[in-house]
């Protein structure tokens, strides 16, 4: 990139601050489409992403991770709480035409669905530059080449259509398109999940390099704990629309406190048959609660082997277990819980 709008972030610069975020969708039914209920997809989620760093947002289907990412970009209705983006409220940014998309960009799982099949790669990139008025007609072709080069694609790729590209190449194009507006913050939603494992690393290494070169801030959304560990400084674990646990990466993997985090870690298949046979597992029996009618108390109660009456009546707050490490569980300090969880992580974390 020849021009950089934004200076490299300094340590301590405010990045993204998510404070009590709620996203709710009405359920309508009947002939008159009357509202008959409400889906609490994201229910009071808070975390920060310091400028120039990556937070990994981990969870399974229905955890609210994707909706959280979309809400940060103004693509899902925020029904409560606030989002601050580099010191400005999301509402202020949204009020200035073009400011939100020029600051925050999104890359999806499936670039085949997000790229127009009839447009060449060059045309798709040049369109973004034109829409945002970032380059005159003559300059665009040159900028397209710079963008392609920045994501490791050869210049002739500009004339190709998405169908002629491999999955990894398409994901590089999607990243180039997000970078075209020189954003400061990118939400990466399952960006390597559809790729073969031998190719995943190419894209992850590219994202890490781009972050170092340009001081980008990332929210990396994924279900894959192995992948998230390589790219994130901090990890947030969501379940049923709530944050269950958040900690610096190495702490989360070595001393997780929430039973759900354990369940996730112990479910990851290890490419080592002896470790697979030897490991103790924490079983998750049921599936996430209905977001339209969550049970009172903890969202994880029905799946948790340690749940008590307290868990079924009172919602556990997210509270500190150590500096910079929060978890939402009534029983995480109980010796028998610690004991069980320590056994379950053996062989998983270094």
């Amino acid at each position: 990139m020849t021009t950089t709008r934004n200076a490299m972030p300094q340590a301590g610069d405010e990045g993204i601050v998510v404070d009590g975020l709620k996203v709710q969708f009405p359920i309508r039914s009947g002939v008159f489409r009357r509202q008959t209920g409400i889906v609490r997809a994201v229910d009071g989620v808070s975390f920060d992403i310091p400028a120039g760093t990556t937070v990994g947002l981990v969870g399974e289907s229905g955890s609210g991770k994707t909706t959280t990412g979309r809400a940060l970009l103004g693509l899902a209705p925020v029904s409560g709480g606030g989002v601050r983006i580099f010191g400005e409220s999301q509402a202020e940014l949204a009020a200035r035409p073009g400011a939100l998309p020029r600051t925050c960009q999104l890359v999806f799982q499936d670039p085949f669905a997000s790229l127009n099949p009839r447009m060449t790669v060059g045309a798709a990139l040049s369109e973004v530059l034109a829409v945002h008025g970032l380059a005159g007609r003559e300059e665009r072709a040159r900028r397209v080449q710079t963008l392609l080069d920045g994501v490791g694609l050869r210049p002739e790729m500009a004339d190709r259509h998405p169908v002629e590209l491999s999955g990894g190449q398409r994901q590089r194009v999607a990243i180039a398109r997000a970078l075209a507006v020189e954003p400061r913050f990118i939400v990466l939603d399952e960006v390597v999940s559809a790729l073969d494992v031998s190719i995943q690393g190419q894209i992850l290494n590219l994202l890490i390099d781009l972050q170092r070169e340009r001081g980008l801030t990332y929210l990396f959304i994924t279900h894959d704990l192995g992948v998230v560990r390589y790219v994130s400084q901090r990890i947030v674990v969501m379940y049923g629309g709530k944050v269950m646990e958040t900690a610096p990466r190495d702490r989360l993997f070595s001393v997780p406190h929430h039973p759900y985090t354990h369940a996730l870690l112990s479910a990851v298949p290890l490419p080592d048959p002896k470790a697979e046979r030897a490991r103790a597992r924490l079983d998750v029996r049921s599936e996430p609660p209905d977001p339209a009618a969550p049970p009172p108390g903890c969202r994880f109660q029905r799946s948790c082997p340690f749940a008590t009456d307290l868990c079924r009546s009172e919602e556990p707050p997210l509270r500190p277990v150590a500096a910079d490490h929060l978890a939402a569980c009534h029983h995480m300090e109980r010796p028998e819980v610690r004991q069980a969880l320590t056994t379950a992580t053996q062989g998983v974390s270094a």
């Binding site: 399974e60 289907s61 491999s166 999955g167 990894g168 073969d196 494992v197 031998s198 190719i199 995943q200 690393g201 190419q202 992850l204 290494n205 890490i208 279900h223 894959d224 704990l225 192995g226 992948v227 560990r229 390589y230 990466r249 190495d250 993997f253 369940a263 996730l264 870690l265 112990s266 479910a267 990851v268 298949p269 290890l270 490419p271 080592d272 048959p273 002896k274 470790a275 697979e276 046979r277 597992r281 079983d283 998750v284 599936e287 062989g347 998983v348 974390s349 270094a350």
Partner: protein
């Protein structure tokens, strides 16, 4: 349920034998080979994992075995035998009987494998009534028994549910129940957990493993995920560009992987226990295009150990130590010395403290 044979009870005849199988698409003049010279066998009760990335031919191999290739897809060389019978020589009617009672398939996408407009009970009972001549009442009882076997709570009430009313994990359990309803000798599971969340994936894998042991079925598990086969398979075949490049017993394969592709694939997996600040080691480049086959070893353009002789001709799949059952398709064999010494250092398998 019939008597349950135990695993490895006797050196019995393989359930499935695939010999030098070639699967081709396109015209006879310009065929495109998507599976080439693939051979393996599965004994009763044994679990074979076939591992490879998109387009390596792992699913095409098993679709050919089941005679379910689509379009112009056909077997152009070699054969597949089920309990000694050449599957290609069977009539459509005989083949239908083998699919279900001999071989059963579970696919990745349970939602598209189930009929969305039919209740679970009705679609489970249909083959039992139609092909096995059960009465409706007996079929219903059998369906409840099957749903209980796959761990579906409240089985009797679930019979009235439509597929969309079940979660992804429950649908996959229903599909497994249908697959085992004919007491198959061999279960073919093609990426059975790829669409599922990781906690559900772990449950389904354990269910498949338990059923295999209880029912004495053989299993062919097709997956892109080396972690998935590590816990379930007795032996593993690694495929690349339509060919088997390495095959060995599971522990041996993970401890001393010998083909550069297997090594590179293991090294590219983001692990939970490696130092997180190390860069990932992806495999450079892309798999070859089946329309433009390469001369020599199909992995040579991406291989960090390639030498000029790698383009000379296709290496044979051979045991470098006779009798080891560990076959590789590589003329270089870079880890020959390490394998002779027993264990390898390196990033995979053996690196655990």
């Amino acid at each position: 349920m019939n008597a349950i044979p135990t695993r490895r009870s006797e050196p019995s005849r393989p359930v499935l034998e695939v010999e030098n199988l070639r699967v081709s698409y396109g015209s006879a003049q310009r065929p495109i080979h998507v599976v080439n010279d693939v051979s393996f066998s599965v004994r009763p009760g044994e679990a074979l994992g076939i591992v490879g990335e998109s387009g390596c031919g792992k699913s095409q191999t098993m679709l050919a075995v089941l005679r379910l290739l689509s379009g112009s897809g056909r077997i152009t060389a070699g054969r597949a035998r089920f309990e000694g019978q050449d599957l290609a020589a069977l009539s459509a009617r005989q083949m239908r009987r083998i699919r279900g009672h001999g071989l059963a398939l579970i696919s990745q996408d349970a939602l598209s494998a189930l009929n969305p407009s039919m209740r679970i009970g009705a679609q489970m009972a249909e083959p039992l009534v139609r092909y096995d001549g059960m009465s409706r009442g007996d079929a219903r009882k059998r369906c409840i028994e099957l749903l209980e076997m796959v761990g579906i709570p409240g089985a009797a009430t679930r019979l009235a549910a439509y597929p969309h009313e079940l979660s992804g994990g429950m649908r996959q359990r229903v599909l497994i129940a249908m697959a085992i309803s004919g007491n198959p000798k061999l279960l073919i599971a093609d990426e059975p957990t790829t669409a599922l969340d990781v906690t559900i994936q772990a449950q389904i894998l354990r269910l498949i493993d338990r059923l295999r042991r209880e029912l004495g079925m053989a299993l062919v598990l097709i997956t892109h995920d080396l972690g998935v086969v590590a816990g379930v398979s007795d032996t593993i075949a690694v495929m690349y560009a339509g060919r088997v490049v390495e095959t060995a017993e599971t522990d041996r394969l993970f401890e001393t992987p010998r083909h550069p592709y297997t090594r590179a694939l293991l090294d590219s997996i983001p692990k939970l226990d490696a130092p997180a600040d190390r860069r990932l080691q992806p495999i450079a480049g892309l798999p070859p295009d089946p329309l433009r086959p390469l001369s020599g070893c199909p992995f040579h353009p991406r291989c960090s150990h390639a030498e000029p002789r790698c383009t000379d001709g296709l290496p044979a799949l051979e045991a470098k130590e006779p009798g080891s059952g560990h076959l590789i398709r590589c003329v270089i064999d870079p880890w020959r010395a390490a394998a002779a010494g027993g264990r390898t250092s390196g990033l995979t398998g053996a690196s655990r403290p």
